[in-house]
Each structure stands twice: as C-alpha cells, then as structure tokens.
Assembly symmetry: C2
C-alpha cells in the first residue's frame, strides 16, 4: 500500500500516526510504501489556489482545526496547532526522498509529523530535522542535491498521474482512497487482493 | 442528531441509507432530525462556485464517481450514476420542508435519494416525487407556497450559521461532523452526551 503525504497536511499527520498504531497483523503484507509529495502544485493546477484551502476558505479551516483537535483527542494522539500553517514542507519531503531506501524512513516520517503537529517546531529548518533522529545528517545534506530534488518532483508528477487531489491518499492495487477516514477501506482492499 | 443533506449530494445519499441500515439501538435516543438545505448558495458564497465542485474540479469528480460506486458495492446499497448531476434538488427539498412534522418525512427522504441515485429519475419533476409514496400530493402542492419556500431558505441560513460547507453534515450537541465517513463519530458523540 502506498501512503501519499505532505508534511504540511494535518490529516496526513493523523493517517501516519494511525498507521504506526496498527497492530502488525493489520498492516498489508507488502508493507507501507511512504510517498512524500507536494500538495501545493496540485492545488494550484487543479483549483488555482496559492495557499492551503483551509486558509483560503475560512469556513472549512475553522472546521478542520476543531476536527483535528477532536480526532486527536479521540485517538489519543498528541496535538498542538502549528504556529505557522501550512509549514513549508519541501525540505522535509526532500529528506524523505533522500531516505527512500533507508530503514530510517518510517521513523523520520513519524518524527517530522510529530515535530510539526505535536511540538510546533519549524520542519523547514535543517537543524530541527537533524535533531529528530540520530543519523540524518547525510540525508539532510543530500536533500538539496539535483537528484533528490528531481525525485520529489517525480513523486509529485506521479501523484498527478494517479489522480491525487489531496493528502493523505492511499493507493492499493490501482485504487485511490482519499483521506485518513479511508485508511480502513484501503487496508481492507489490500487484504482482499491477497485472497 | 441533526442530519443536514441536499438531495443532489452523492455522499448524502450514502449517509441517509447508512442511517436507515442502523439497528434501532444504534440510533441516538433523540432520533434523527432531518434537515434539508441547499448546498448551491453556500458553495457560491464560500468558494465562488456556480456548479458542483465535482464538476468544476474534474480530478475530484473522477474520484468521487469511482468512490461512490465502490462505497455502495461495499455497503450493499443500490447505485446508478445519475444522468444529470447535480440534479435540481430545490423541489424535493421544499417537499421535505413541507413534511417537517409529518411521519412520512424519513421515508420520503429515503425514497427521493433512491430515485436520484439508484433509479436515475428526475426528482425535480413533481410527478416523479408524487409517485414515490402514497400521500405526498398535499405536501407537493404546499412545496411552492411562500411559507415552505421561506422554510427552506431558513434552513440554508441556519446551515450557514452552523458553519456548514458541504453535505452530509451532522450536528450533535453543537459539534459539526462533516461527511458520511463521520456518521459513526457523530453517533458516538451523541452517545457520550447521554452518559
């Protein structure tokens, strides 16, 4: 199962913590493929937006902030409304791309989301990212290399081709499921594919 | 629990059938208050749209149609993509307003949604609405009276005041839950209020 996320996305935070809270037997046999991408270009192309829809449309924003607080309370997840929203997520996404084949990747994803949405730390600051886990220095250095920058652009291109319009999104057997609400549906779909 | 819906809304269809499929003990003690309103004015005021976002933003639309088909298959609900989307839902919403204190209301809501999304019938046609259930003639006649027209406008005004931006939406103890995905959360909230 692919989990497509943007480090600035509030509901991606919930989805990622929910995946980490799953018992091992609930995970798809093929595991989770972590797919960082950038929502901004897709929002801009698809809807002409230059900011998060939660900022552009305040009625939606008010609901989202209350919903996040309520969801995290229900699920037992830490939550602090970020002082800046959306956080600039490009560097963190590039670090995730640099870690593509590294066993540190899942833990980095989790730690960067917690830094943004539980600790209100600035994940666009390389020093903040470096402090999240030991062993990230090399990935943070490579994050601004042409190869890694290209990798994030390719991910965003792939997201566009897959018909994504928001995050989190799950891809299972060619099917798109949008939103943290649909994690269980995506997992069921993965389970049905096995049998 | 209030269930706010627009007869043109695909996910409202799913929410309504899900409510009808609930076992009696899962329903809130206070029952369901059926709240018809019009999404169009809110979409227009909040986002400047003059059509369904699923038409304006084709990437979202493609996902929604596939999602509806998949959701209905999973839930065992009948589904036929309407030939016209969104259907003009004003008349059906007015009939629902005219039935506000009538025991026929829930069955009318269900039948009108099925007509639109399972039978591809034109619910803007009074003859189609009259054929849904016996005993609707008087409500259909009153639907275009100034009182009933005003009632639907008042509902849409109330939806705006409550911070609604889409349908279905649930209101429980002053809390807003948006989307059919959140029916269970809304029911849990209602249950917690009891205790």
């Amino acid at each position: 199962m692919q989990l497509w996320f943007d480090f600035a996305s509030t509901y991606s935070y919930v989805a990622v913590l929910r995946v980490f809270a799953l018992p091992p037997e609930a995970l798809p046999a093929s595991g989770i493929e972590w797919k960082p991408f950038l929502l901004g270009p897709l929002f801009n192309e698809q809807s002409g937006l230059r900011d998060s829809p939660f900022n552009v449309f305040p009625v939606r924003g008010r609901y989202m902030w209350r919903d996040l607080e309520r969801l995290c309370a229900k699920l037992g997840f830490p939550w602090r409304k970020p002082g800046v929203f959306p956080r600039h997520s490009v560097l963190a996404a590039r670090v995730a791309c640099a870690l593509e084949r590294d066993p540190l990747l899942p833990e980095f994803v989790r730690a960067a989301f917690l830094a943004n949405f539980a600790e209100d730390r600035d994940i666009s600051d390389p020093a903040v990212l470096a402090s999240l886990l030991p062993g990230l220095d090399e990935a943070i250095q490579r994050a601004t290399s042409p190869e890694v920058k290209a990798k994030l652009r390719e991910n965003t291109d792939e997201a566009r081709r897959l018909g994504l319009f928001g995050a989190p999104s799950f891809i299972v057997g060619g099917e798109l499921f949008f939103g943290q609400d649909r994690l269980d549906d995506a997992l069921e779909w993965a389970d049905d594919l096995k049998s």
